[in-house]
Symmetry: C2
Subunit: 197 residues, 2 copies
């Protein structure tokens, strides 16, 4: 129904996560109406990402260089490794400005339902790095796959790097969270991990 060039763009937008037909139409029509240079800049931004972006050779985070800015930063504590699922989690943590160690990005979680096995994750580098580290903080999500991965890593790290401190981020009520809206698992974590005031 739409002209074929517009239809092709609508279909391209539909491949983005969470974008349905209506949203893709809205995006494509905005592109159709914007100045030529802006669309060229957009297309160039897409291609640049594919040309320049790759995994940091140390931690697996996304970077334009050979190593990411965090791994290259000598002011950070390289003996403390914060293990996360994806580059998004690194950014979320960096926004807190509370952490001065380094990261390790697994690029996935062990998942029986999705068929992701430990060998599909960025693990080899982690074991080598952990040998020179004081602490590995397991910061995978509080989901089934996140917990499975954390348990697997805990066992693996303690076996391969005896004496290393392996910690897990705290679980409990989120900031602003109300008890009557929290699910049972969150509440039972909040109870079992309670602290003396």
């Amino acid at each position: 129904m739409y002209p074929s060039s517009l239809q092709a763009l609508i279909e391209a937008f539909r491949t983005l996560p969470g974008v349905g037909e209506k949203t893709a139409e809205r995006y494509a029509l905005m592109i159709a109406e914007q100045p030529h240079e802006e669309t060229e800049r957009f297309a160039q931004a897409l291609l640049n990402v594919k040309d320049n972006l790759h995994r940091c050779s140390v931690c697996g985070n996304l970077t334009d260089g050979e190593q990411c800015g965090i791994c290259k930063d000598t002011d950070r504590n390289h003996r403390q490794i914060f293990v996360v699922q994806s580059p998004k989690d690194v950014l979320a943590m960096e926004k807190t400005s509370e952490y001065n160690g380094v990261y390790h990005v697994l690029n996935g979680l062990i998942s029986s339902s999705k068929g992701v096995m430990p060998e599909d994750l960025n693990l080899q580098g982690l074991l080598e790095r952990a040998k020179d580290a004081d602490e590995v903080i397991l910061a995978t999500s509080a989901t089934m796959d996140g917990e499975t991965t954390a348990m697997y890593l805990d066992r693996l790290l303690k076996k391969e790097c005896p004496g290393i401190l392996v910690t897990r981020i705290a679980h409990g009520l989120p900031a602003g969270g109300m008890l009557d809206y929290a699910d049972e698992i969150t509440l039972s974590h909040a109870l079992s991990d309670r602290k003396t005031m």
Copy 2:
């Protein structure tokens, strides 16, 4: 914080309507992880739209050719013109399969708040086409700007094309709409435009 190529893509996605930082991040990270060819196809789809898409010389709808498919279709009734704000509205109406006339796309609505004047709209072509038409159906939205535009067009058409039939699409309760959720204006339209059963 993100590598600069990724940050540039996030900013490109943020120019899309309704896309905030989180969503743009999600889109950009998906692009970062997809195969190279798919991103190239996406970039090409963007550029193709700018190279090929323009306004139909007759009705103002978007088309890859000189005239749009509807204006070229000799099986349609070219003496009945359905006037809409944007190309999206043409598609919405075509999906009903209930209309066999042609369209005229204004590419905007008269709006005092946005400073859009009648001369900013695709009106000249409409007056010329209306001279050969039997009916002009005003199908601008049931918003303030839509009503203003419809009233303006009604007066203009009756002045320039004496004897032409100018109609306005019906206003009332939408399909599936419940009385207690409908606003006062919708309800008063539904009452004043009631039909004998």
